[in-house]
Each structure stands twice: as structure tokens, then as C-alpha cells.
């Protein structure tokens, strides 16, 4: 279980302190899929980065299974079972997709296992396994590989920062299935997704709403989701232009 206790995070902005996260307390119980939503700029991604250790809170404590990890490095948190999928995945010259999956999963990872993770995110493994994780990959391809690295890690807590960003409709469909699959196999682990996609919110066990750096809503999906429908906090996956809609039908 992950617990955030009175977390605040300030940055210096033009000489004055700006508070991005204000006294946030929440928990992600074991075996649950929790989605954090909220308006853009509300602090969702910052919260995810604080949990992964990429940023350090100015105040408050972060506990993982009762252990205080607030002062721990990104590496130590990763080794204790936190996986993190970046909103904007990083490119590496020369490092191949297989290398990255092997770094995630472990040295002994077999090619066939690595391919399974790629297939799970809708990539034809044969075409991608030896590709370099460089600028030759599209944003959507990169994003799916990023998600595959987190799947490969099989961590107790997997965090996905806006996994749908930069992904096309077909892949999005696939993505939902990936999360549903993860959820089936969740056992004691938990999943935390930052998203404002209605489809992702609709598979959540719990939903947390973050606005202006504060928790403004927290509860079960059935309790929270109806209040969000129709707002920017629960967007439809795709709005086709009329021409495209006809083409899709024809």
C-alpha cells in the first residue's frame, strides 16, 4: 500500500514560491486500480513524479508498505517495487527495444518473453524488438514501448502518467485491454494511472480528483465518475470529424 501524508511541493517561480501540491493525503491500497484525474495544470503529473522520487516533496511523508521512502532515490524506490511510465517517453540513441526490456525485467530475459510484452501493447514484436529507441520511432510507438517496460518490470505499484497521450484510437482500445489484463493479474499489487479519459476512469476501482494542487474528490468509481462525466476531467477517447466518421462507416 502506498500512502501520501500531507504532501506539499513548492517551486520557485520568478522569485516567489509557487505551491504545486498543497497538503495532499491519499492512499493506494493493494490490489486496486486507482485513477487520478483533474484539470490540466492541477498537479497530477507532479504527484506521480513525487511518488516515483523524481521530485522531492517540500513537506510530508511518502510510505510504501509502511516504510518511509520520502528521502529515497529513484533507484531505491524502483527496487522496492515502484514502476513508472513517463508521459513523454525518453529516446536513447543506440539502445534497442530489447535492451530496454532486459534492463526492466532482468539480465536473463529471453527474447520470446520480451516479445510478449511488446505484443501486449499491440506492437508486432518481430518488427520492433531490434529497433533503436531513437527518433525513428513515432510518439505512439515510443509510448507503447514505455508501457511495455513497466509491464516487464511487474512491480508491486505501477504508475502510468497519462498513458493515453499521443496514442491513436486503435492503440487506445488496446491500452484499455492492457490495463484490464494487468488488473486481472494484479494479485497484491496496485496500479495508479494519471488520466482524464472516461474509458480509463470507467475501469478504476477508485478515483481521486486533484485540482489546484489539492484533493477535491476521492472515492469509489461509482461515487465519483458520474460527477465528472461531461467535464474535461472525463473526456471521450475520440471525437471524429464528420468526414472521417462517414469514411469509417463506408
Amino acid at each position: 500500500m502506498l500512502e501520501l501524508q500531507h504532501i506539499s511541493f513548492q517551486v520557485e517561480d520568478e522569485g516567489s514560491d509557487k505551491e504545486i501540491i498543497r497538503d495532499v493525503s491519499l492512499s493506494v491500497p493493494d490490489g486496486k486500480l486507482v485513477v487520478i484525474t483533474g484539470p490540466n495544470g492541477g498537479g497530477k503529473s507532479t504527484l506521480a513524479r513525487l511518488i516515483a522520487g523524481i521530485e522531492k516533496p517540500t513537506e510530508g511523508r511518502i510510505l510504501l508498505n509502511g516504510e518511509d521512502i520520502t528521502e529515497m532515490s529513484v533507484t531505491d524506490r524502483a527496487r522496492r517495487g515502484i514502476g513508472f511510465a513517463f508521459q513523454q517517453p525518453v529516446r536513447f540513441k543506440g539502445i534497442q527495444v530489447f535492451d530496454l526490456i532486459r534492463l526492466a525485467k532482468g539480465k536473463d530475459t529471453k527474447m520470446v518473453d520480451a516479445c510478449e510484452y511488446l505484443s501486449a501493447v499491440g506492437l508486432c514484436a518481430r518488427d520492433y524488438i531490434n529497433r533503436e529507441v531513437n527518433a525513428s520511432l513515432s510518439g505512439g510507438e515510443l509510448k507503447r514501448i514505455e508501457i511495455a517496460t513497466v509491464l516487464a518490470r511487474g512491480t508491486a505499484l505501477s504508475i502510468f502518467d497519462e498513458p493515453e497521450a499521443g496514442i491513436d484510437l486503435w492503440s487506445f482500445q488496446n491500452l484499455i485491454e492492457v490495463f484490464e489484463g494487468m488488473r486481472e493479474n494484479i494479485r497484491g499489487g496496485s496500479i495508479l494511472i494519471i488520466s482524464h479519459q472516461e474509458r480509463i476512469l470507467s475501469i478504476a476501482d477508485e478515483i481521486i480528483v486533484i485540482k489546484d494542487g489539492q484533493v477535491t474528490g476521492q472515492g469509489s468509481r461509482d461515487e465519483i465518475l458520474p460527477k465528472l462525466i461531461g467535464t474535461t476531467m472525463a473526456m471521450k477517447a475520440c471525437r471524429m470529424a464528420p468526414g472521417e466518421r462517414e469514411a469509417a462507416r463506408g
Binding site: A52, I54, S73, V74, T75, A78, R79, I82, G83, F84, F86, P89, V90, F92, K93, G94, I95, Q96, D99, L100, L103, A104, T149, R153
Partner: protein, 308 residues
């Protein structure tokens, strides 16, 4: 064949991936003398009369054969200049593996200057691999100054892989190439310098015939207090295409100077250069740390990938 000691065998493995006597034609040079040599029906290795090097003659039409000419030095204070000429017959398709490993445990500098000339016949194709490696903890420097001259006849292809990853204190690499019509040159250079090493690499590629092309790409990492200079010049004097690229990572107090040069003497010459120097991106390190690597492990992985 002269028996080689453990250090010499290790150097051979490093520079030529050789675990035993190679198949095909070879000459192993150890501490200034030949430690073994073999020619084949199609590839003849002949020592020059004045003893300054080798003439390697590859018969026209020779296919799928290889030549290994590694050099190992373990004697501190040895300085040598070696001239090797490769005559590659028309339509041949061969792999040439050179490379030099120096182990210097003594106080004096050890230096090997290999001057290689390639005369590549019409439609011939060669792949040339040259690895440099230094080891030993003596105060004497390990110095390598390779000079490579390439003369390509019509329709020939030369692919060069130049690798220097570790242990060479001082290198001045000079490569020149002259290409006739339809000839193609591809160079992939990988370099890492550390300590107070210095590596200078200069290319002058003349694209003299219509349809000729050159692609010279250097990837390098400069660590500690090392210094690198990459000076690549393409001269296009026909309807040709050329591309040079210097892509470098600097770390610590490393310094890199990239000097790309393009000279077009024909309106149909299409020449491009790219150069980028910078430190390892912070988000690359963080991404690998989220996979459980330490900062140092992440850096190593990024560099290994970059130089792969």
C-alpha cells in the same frame, strides 16, 4: 608461428576478436616482427623488400574471404612506422581486419603508426575493421597514429569501421579518400577517450565521379579531462552526395571540437553535415533509474548503447 604470451593473446582478442590463428590470409605483427603469416590462393601477403611493411594483393573476383593483419605491442619504448598497401582486384568482395593493441607497463612511450593504402578496383567491395586498444599501467604513453588512404575506382564500395574505446593515450587519425564515379564510402567511427587522452580524427573525402557517395559518421564520448577533435571535410566535384555527422557526449571535464567542412565544386553536389555535442540527457538517466539502475549504471548503459 611464434608463440605469443598471455598479454599478446589478450590484445589479439581485443583488436581482432581472434581466439586462435585466423582462417584465410593473415599476418600477425608482434613487437616489430611477424609472428605468423599465411597467404591463400587468392590473397597474397608479401613483405616489402625494405622491411617497412606489407603488400597485400587480392585477386580479382575473390569472394567471401578475409584478411587479418593485427598488431600487438608489449615492449615499452617501441616506436614503429608500418606501411601496408592493399591492392584489391576488380569485383572482389572481402573483409579486412586490422587493429592494434598496445600494452605498456613501462616508463617509455610505445607508438605504432600504421599507414594503410587501399587501391580498390572496379566494382570491388571491402569491409575494413580497425580496432585500437591500450592497456598496462606504465607511465609510458600508448600512441597510435593511423593514416588511411583510400583510392576507389568506379562502382567500388568501401565500408570502414574504426573503433577506439579504451586505453590509447594519444591518437592522430588521418583518413583520405578519393572516389570515382559510382563509388561508395561508408565510415562508422566510435571513440571513447578518458583520463587525459587526446584523439584527433581528420577526414578528407573527395567525391570526384558522378554518382559517388560518402557517409562519414562519428559517435564519441569524451570523459575525465580528455580532448577530441573531429575534422571531417567532404569535397564534391561531381554529381555526388555526401553526409558527415559528429554526435558526441561530453562528461566531466571532457572537451570536443567538431569541425565539419563541406566544399562543393559542382552544382550537382549535394553535401550535408550534422554535428551535435552535449552531456547525457538527465531524463535518460532518470528513466533508467526508474528501472532500478543506479545513476552510474544508467550512465554506463547509455554510453554503451551510444557506442554500440
Amino acid at each position: 608461428m611464434v608463440k605469443l604470451d598471455e598479454i599478446q593473446l589478450r590484445l589479439l582478442r581485443e583488436v581482432a576478436d581472434l581466439h586462435k590463428v585466423p582462417e584465410g590470409a593473415y599476418n600477425i605483427r608482434s613487437n616489430g616482427t611477424s609472428a605468423g603469416r599465411a597467404s591463400t590462393a587468392n590473397i597474397e601477403i608479401i613483405p616489402k623488400e625494405n622491411g617497412s611493411g606489407l603488400d597485400i594483393r587480392i585477386k580479382p573476383g575473390t569472394k567471401k574471404e578475409s584478411v587479418h593483419i593485427p598488431v600487438v605491442m608489449t615492449q615499452s619504448g617501441l616506436t614503429e612506422v608500418v606501411y601496408n598497401d592493399f591492392h584489391i582486384g576488380e569485383d572482389a568482395d572481402v573483409i579486412i581486419v586490422a587493429g592494434c593493441g598496445i600494452d605498456n607497463c613501462g616508463p617509455k612511450d610505445s607508438q605504432h603508426d600504421g599507414i594503410h593504402r587501399f587501391f580498390v578496383g572496379k566494382n570491388a567491395k571491402i569491409k575494413y575493421v580497425e580496432k585500437h586498444y591500450g592497456s598496462g599501467d606504465g607511465s609510458g604513453k600508448r600512441i597510435l597514429n593511423p593514416v588511411t588512404e583510400v583510392y576507389q575506382e568506379e562502382g567500388s564500395t568501401v565500408e570502414m569501421e574504426m573503433v577506439q574505446i579504451k586505453g590509447v593515450d594519444d591518437t592522430v587519425r588521418t583518413t583520405t579518400a578519393k572516389l570515382s564515379a559510382g563509388a561508395k564510402l561508408v565510415v562508422r567511427e566510435r571513440l571513447m577517450t578518458h583520463g587525459s587522452q587526446r584523439a584527433i580524427s581528420t577526414y578528407v573525402v573527395e567525391l570526384n565521379g558522378d554518382g559517388s557517395s560518402a557517409d562519414v559518421v562519428s559517435r564519441s564520448v569524451a570523459r575525465d579531462d580528455s580532448y577530441q577533435k573531429f575534422d571531417a571535410k567532404l569535397v564534391g566535384s561531381a554529381a555526388c552526395s555526401g553526409h558527415t555527422e559528429c554526435d558526441s557526449i561530453i562528461m566531466d571535464n571532457g572537451r570536443i571540437l567538431a569541425v565539419p567542412g563541406l566544399e562543393a565544386n559542382s552544382v550537382d553536389a549535394a553535401l550535408v553535415h550534422e554535428a551535435a555535442i552535449g552531456k547525457i540527457a538527465g531524463d535518460q538517466i532518470i528513466k533508467l533509474m526508474t528501472l532500478g539502475l543506479t545513476e552510474q549504471e544508467a550512465e554506463e548503459q547509455i554510453i554503451n548503447g551510444f557506442l554500440k
